[in-house]
């Protein structure tokens, strides 16, 4: 379940939908991670580019990995502009047992940060500025250099 939305996420609606989707799946632990735009560095918000084909294959690999632990992962992310105090990202793990969910949400969020083909821009003074300082080169980068 990978969901992309234009602009900010309706976090409570997505949470409610996911909770209900798995309400009879017999998962004992459900851990969402919600990412919200902080007011810092005088930005007006953030903006995101998403490359869907590779994001989907990254996500599908995670779904397979989660399945090995009888867990599932879900994810929603924004495309385009998201303003201060709005949310752009929800990741979630459902699993029968809490240890699996607690460890997997950490791994999933960190791998997402390092690998998911999404680019972040600061919205500042009417401009869209690539957040190069906060970005991470995908593992294996530099092949063509």
């Amino acid at each position: 379940m990978l969901e992309l939305y234009d602009g900010a996420l309706d976090v409570s609606a997505i949470f409610d939908k996911w909770y209900k989707e798995e309400s009879k799946s017999n998962y004992g632990a459900f851990i969402p991670f919600v990412g919200t735009i902080r007011d810092e560095d005088s930005i007006d918000g953030l903006s995101f580019d998403v490359y869907e084909p590779i994001l989907e294959s990254w996500f599908n690999k995670w779904q397979e990995k989660a399945k090995e632990s009888n867990a599932i992962v879900k994810m929603a992310h924004s495309k385009g502009d998201v303003l201060l105090h709005e949310s752009s990202y929800i990741a979630a793990v459902f699993s029968p047992k809490r240890r699996v969910a607690l460890e997997m949400i950490d791994e999933f969020v960190e791998d997402f940060k390092a690998s998911a083909p999404i680019w972040k821009y600061d919205l500042k003074d009417g401009k869209r500025v690539y957040a190069s300082e906060r970005s991470t080169a995908i593992k294996g980068s530099g092949l063509l250099a």
Binding site: S132, L143, L144
Partner: protein, 73 residues
């Protein structure tokens, strides 16, 4: 022809190049001053699959994508 596309913040339109493998692509892109500076930090996908070797053979119609550093969330 091989299509080379530049994702995210690399403001460069898609190129069409003659190449039989990634080594050829690398040689051509190194000549491009706008693209050159990105090569060190970009991951590479062929037909939307990330690759880790320059030896990948390319066929007519293949798509090579350059993915600069990411920051989702």
């Amino acid at each position: 022809m091989i299509k080379v596309e530049f994702l995210g913040p690399i403001s460069k339109p898609t190129m069409e190049l003659e190449a039989s493998n990634l080594k050829d692509i690398s040689e051509i892109l190194k000549q491009d001053d706008e693209v050159k500076e990105w090569l060190e930090t970009c991951a590479v996908a062929v037909n939307d699959t990330l690759v880790s070797s320059l030896d990948v053979k390319l066929q007519n119609g293949d798509k090579v994508s350059l993915l600069p550093p990411v920051c989702g969330g």
